[in-house]
Every structure is written in C-alpha cells, then in structure tokens.
C-alpha cells in the first residue's frame, strides 16, 4: 500500500475514474496544462488530452451550468471551482437545476456530476480564498455534500461521488492537502456516501467533526486521554448531507456528552443540525448540554487574524472539559 498525501490521493482517484470510465471528464479553470493551482489534476491533461480535461473560460456559473448539460447528455463531469469562495456564482445552477432535474422530471432526467472545490482556511490565503460554506449546499435538497479528512477517505469518497447517480459537492479541506501522508490501498475502494465513521473508540464523551478540523479534534482526544484519563470517542461525519444520524446517536447514547467541531460559522451550521438530531433521538441520554466549537458568525478574517478565528485543539479541549465537568 503506497503512502501519499491528500492532494495525491484525490489526483489518483481522478486518474483511476477517467481510466475506467470514458464518460468522466474533468473541467475548470487551469485544470489543463497548468494541472490545477493545487496540482490536483497533475498528469491528467497529458494522459487524457483536451477533450476530457477541459480548461474553461473564467466563469464559475458557466462551468457548473455546462457541467449540468454534460451530465444530462450522458457524461460524468467532475467540475473544479478553483476556490470554494467563488462557487457562489454557480450556486443558482446547483440549487435550482442540478438538485432538481430528477425531481422535476420524476426521474427521467438526472444530473450525475461532481463539483470539487478546495475549501476552508488555515493556509494564509488571500481574501475570499478561505471560506467554509458547506452548509449552504447541505441546506439545498437534492444535493449531496461530502468532505474528506485524509488521503484514504478522500480517494474513496471521490470514487463514490463520481459513481453517484446524483449531484455531489465534494469539498476538499485544502489545509490538509499536504499536511500528512497515509497508506492508500492498491485497489480502488469506495466509501458509502451518507455514512459517518467512528475513528476513535471511547466511552466518556463524543467529539464530532469533519474535514480539516478532524485533526485538532483527534489531537484534543489524545490530550484528554493523556492529561485527564478521559476516553473520547471521535466521529468523522465524512458526508454532511445526507447526514448519518444513526452513527451519531449510537455514540451519544453510549457517552452522554458531546462536543461538535467545525470551522464554518456557528449559526444554522452543521453542528446545529447534529444537535437537532440528538435532541430528536437521544435527548434523555444527555448528561450535559452539547457544546459547539466553530468558526464565529463572521466572514473568515483575513489571514493575520484567522488563527484566532479557527477551532484548534485547545478550544476543543476547553469545551470538552466544560462538558465533562457539567
């Protein structure tokens, strides 16, 4: 099993998917000879050429709108938006069209496409290059939203997204692109969309996160064990929508204490939805109010102040200790 980082694992999934399915096309700004601003499409243009690796004009609405047309006409487009902060331009097409064709035509017309975009902060990027807005897609019925947290699940989820019969938003936590390496199996594997994973077993408290903040959440779990002798269970959501209620509830009924971590803003965020589901299914198991460690209800600040804005292990640790002490 070769070791690779997340950027390479996503690249590998694209390469594999294009190799085994001629319908898969990659499109976006600078995905061709430049191989993507994060080098995610490395080697694809050289191997598959202009027809299947398409450098588009600079127009996000055009990219996603034409991807929808391609999907309707039998292709499996994987459209890249260079940074998630620029996909608002495409939102109309995703929410009003990609998400609705199946429902409007009672299943006759479908849109099997993927929108990939680097998401989130933490890399000292320019203004508008650090947004975490997965929730706006999670709130759009008809779309699926996936966020990997490491190389292996990134590759497996991208395969699942490309094979999925419906439109999938695949947000890549760019702070993790080259953060660490992991073993990735030789054979193609997929992870089911709509399933969370328990990535660390514990009995005292449940920490729930996804994407980039999985790192600081796991770090906090280790610190809790070392410093407090507390065994934290950690759940990686992996899919934001449709959310895996069952895995969350199973863990919460065991531990009775929960902290949810994400870098997107708090109000109407993913944590709020997790809490609603806990309230619906496991309220009486709770030993303490559920805490949220999230980005604040602000546009993410320019990079000089982003560290204070983003969740980190100390913030998660503080919230976990308060929850445990309740």
């Amino acid at each position: 099993m070769p070791e690779m980082n997340m950027a390479k694992a996503i690249n590998l999934a694209l390469f594999e998917a294009m190799t085994r399915d001629d319908r898969v096309v990659v499109m976006g700004e600078d995905v061709g000879p430049d191989e993507g601003v994060f080098r995610i499409t490395e080697g694809l243009h050289a191997k598959f050429g202009d027809k299947r690796v398409i450098d588009t004009p600079l127009a996000e609405s055009g990219i996603i709108g034409t991807a929808i047309g391609m999907a309707i006409n039998g292709l499996r487009p994987v459209a890249e938006i260079q940074f998630s902060g620029f996909d608002y331009y495409a939102y109309h097409h995703l929410e009003m069209h990609a998400a609705r064709f199946r429902n409007r035509t009672r299943g006759r017309i479908t849109v099997p496409m993927v929108m990939r975009a680097p998401s989130g902060g933490g890399i000292r990027a320019i203004e508008h290059h650090s947004e975490s807005r997965e929730v706006i897609y999670a709130h759009a019925p008809g779309l699926k939203v996936v966020m990997p947290s490491g190389p292996r699940n990134a590759r497996a989820l991208l395969h699942a997204a490309i094979q999925d019969p419906d439109p999938v938003i695949y947000y890549e936590p760019k702070a993790c692109y080259r953060l660490f390496k992991e073993e990735v199996p030789d054979q193609i594997e997929t992870l089911p969309i709509g399933r969370a994973q328990v990535v660390r077993q514990g009995k005292d408290i449940t920490l729930i996160s996804y994407g980039a903040t999985m790192r600081c959440t796991l770090e906090a779990a280790e610190m809790l064990e070392e410093e407090d002798g507390v065994k934290a269970e950690v759940v990686d959501l992996l899919t934001i929508a449709p959310m895996d209620t069952q895995t969350i509830i199973e863990s919460v009924t065991k531990t009775g204490r929960v902290v949810i971590v994400h870098e997107a803003p708090r109000t109407c965020g993913i944590a709020a939805e997790v809490i609603a589901r806990i309230n619906e299914h496991a309220l009486l198991y709770l030993e303490a109010p559920v805490k949220r460690v999230t980005g604040y209800d602000l546009p993410i600040p320019y990079f000089a102040r982003e560290k204070a804005y983003l969740p980190d292990a100390d913030k998660v640790l503080l919230a976990a200790r308060e929850t445990l002490a309740f």
Partner: protein, 376 residues
C-alpha cells in the same frame, strides 16, 4: 421579404501614441504640462518599485500571496489621471499605481497583503472602493454607482477595471448592459494581459478583441496599446468626457502582457515559454515613457536617480511603520474581527466575542504560568 444587411454601427478603433522607442505620433500627442508628465512618471515608477518590494517581502515571508502588477503601470496611470478627485475609483487588483495616485498609502497596501482588513480602508474623503478579489463583481457595483450618480444628478464618473479573464464572467456582460441601458457614467477598463492564470486569451474567448464586445451593448469600444500611457490617457480622457456629458459608458481595452506570474504562488513556466515574455520586454511601459520624457527634456539620469531615492526612502519608511503598527492595537488584536460586521453588534456576536476573549486570556495565563515554571 429579402435578406438585407442590418445597419449596426461597427466602428472600432485602436490607439497608439508612443512607440517602443518613445517616438510620439504628434497628431495624437495629448497636451500635458511638463511638470504633470514628470509627475506621471514618478507615480508609475513608484507603482513599479512598490510592486517589486512586495515581491521581496513575500519571498521573505513577511506578507502573504499577492498578485504582481509590474508592467501594468501605463493602464493604471493613464486612466486614473483622466478622472477628477470626486470621481469614483472601482478597482480590481492590479492597479497598484492607481491606488497610490488616489492617495492609498504604501502602509495601507502593506497592511492588506499582510492579511489585515485595515488595508481595505479607502483614504478619507475619496470615492474609492477597495481591491476586488472575486473576479468581475466590481463591474456591476460600478454600474450601480454610476446609475446612482444619474439619480442624484451628480456629474461624477466611475472608473472601473477588470482583466481579460474577467471578460468571461456573466457579471461583466450584465454590468456593460446595465450601464449602457441606463447611460451610467462608467468607464470600463479591461486590463488585457492575455493570461487568466494559465489560460491564454485565445482559450478565453473566440473573438479578436475584448473591445468589440462594446458593439453588442451599443456603446463605444476602443483597444489601446496598454503599455503606452499616452494612448491610454487619450482614450480614457475621451471616455470620461463622454460619460460626464451624460452619453453613457465606454469600454476601453488596454492590451498589455502579464510580465509576472499571476500571483506569487504561480509558476508560468508550466504553461508558457520564456521567450514570449522576452518579446514583450521591449514594449514595457516605463522604458518608452522615459525615452519620450528624456527627448522632451523633462527627465534625465539625475532627476530619475533623485526620484528613485525618494521612492526608496518612502518605501523603507512605510515598511518600518507597518512593522511597528503590527505590534499595536488594533492591528495586533484579533478581537476587532467582531466589531465591524454590523452597525450594532447583535447579542449572539457579543457572546462569541466574549467567548474568544475568555479563551485568549486563558491561553495567555497558561503561557505565563509555563513561563514562570520554566524560570524557576
């Protein structure tokens, strides 16, 4: 019911005043006082030197990623001097020379690229918008500002900017159409440097010029040599006068070359040949303008050396000032991130501000404890 040609005006001009050797076309040469021309050169030189210094600072890790602007001084300056102080400046992000001319300090520019919102505060009393990173959005705002000028009966003109890549965005076309329909006093300046990161012009659009798009919106369009500050000025001056007379918008396309990478994160060797940049080197805007000014007796080595020294001192002072500022409130204070989102801070945001303040003071006291322990 025969086929007949439609009577649509298809007039499109290109303008070039100065050639690469600084030779001027006398019939087009604008009448600018010598002191003013010297001043123009000084601003262009400052734009260049600031850009070069930003690159050094970025390489040293003292500022973040930024898009370089060297080679685009003629478009920025030739347009910005065509508007008056009360007019509006609605930039994209490669108009450094224009920012400086409008009174944005080097300190403010450094703060922006140091990752601080304080770098987006326009100079007091100026009708300027800050840098617009999302591509083409500023053009629709510019159209709206122009429409408001009409509603208010103000004779102010809006000067706005975009790139060749931005010409593909729907917003660009909506802005041109709105401005045309409502005769908004807007000058749309396209800084056509022929690359949108790696994508060359011929992959961006299947027409010869950006300027010709003006025809479809029923407004004047002109392509100028974007490395020729006099040509840019001639086109901009005419466009501004037309706008001020209530005759609506103009589309100016300044043809230039992106001499630099897209940003400090980009590597152009991946998608274009270095010889291409060399071919454009001789057409660079500062060299020919200097030759022209030297021929007119406005500039000489001594004057330029003195300008360089003044600019260098000014840049060094600004860097020192910013280094000091970064250690002081509000620049060093993360909590100000909460203070400007709304006119009145809602209670939930105040709670979040308090939460962060509590967390930071805790961390600080933890760090102090550790420090004390270490000292013992």
């Amino acid at each position: 019911m025969p086929r007949k040609p439609l009577d649509i005006p298809l007039k499109l001009e290109t303008i070039s005043v100065l050639d690469e050797n600084g030779e001027v076309d006398k019939s087009l040469e604008p009448k600018i006082p010598n002191d003013e021309l010297k001043n123009w050169y000084r601003w262009m030189l400052m734009g260049r030197r600031v850009d070069e210094r930003l690159l050094k600072l970025q390489r040293q890790g003292r500022i973040g990623t930024f898009p370089q602007a060297s080679g685009h001084e003629a478009i920025a300056l030739g347009t910005i001097v065509a508007i008056e102080k009360p007019d509006w400046f609605v930039p994209a992000y490669r108009e450094t020379t224009g920012f400086l001319y409008r009174g944005w300090t080097i300190e403010t520019i450094l703060l922006y690229w140091s990752g601080l919102e304080e770098g987006a505060i326009p100079p007091e009393g100026m009708n300027d918008l800050p840098i617009a990173v999302p591509v083409a959005t500023q053009l629709v705002h510019a159209a709206g500002i122009g429409m408001a000028n009409n509603v208010k009966g103000e004779k102010k003109v809006v000067m706005t900017y975009f790139g060749d890549g931005a010409s593909s965005e729907g917003d660009t076309h909506e802005a041109l159409n709105f401005a045309s329909v409502f005769k908004a006093p807007v000058v749309f300046t396209c800084l056509n440097n022929q690359y949108a990161i790696s994508v060359p012009l011929h992959r961006q659009m299947n027409c010869q010029t950006v300027a010709q798009r003006a025809i479809s919106y029923g407004i004047p369009g002109v392509r100028v040599d974007g490395n020729d500050v006099l040509a840019v000025y001639v086109a901009a001056k005419e466009a501004v006068e037309r706008a001020r007379k209530g005759e609506g918008p103009t589309l100016i396309e300044g043809l230039t070359y992106r001499y630099t990478p897209h940003t400090t994160s980009d590597d152009p060797k991946r998608y274009r040949k270095e010889e291409e940049a060399q071919q454009w080197a001789a057409k660079e805007p500062l060299i020919r303008f200097r030759k022209y000014l030297e021929k007119k007796g406005i500039l000489n080595d001594k004057i330029v050396t003195q300008m360089e020294e003044e600019i260098e001192t000014r840049i060094q002072d600004a860097i020192k000032n910013v280094e000091r500022m970064l250690k002081e409130a509000p620049y060093s204070d993360p909590l100000v991130m909460f203070d400007y989102l709304y006119a009145d801070m809602p209670p939930h945001l105040q709670e979040q501000r308090d939460e962060l303040a509590h967390f930071l003071s805790r961390n600080k006291s933890d760090a102090e404890k550790k420090h004390e322990t270490a000292a013992h």
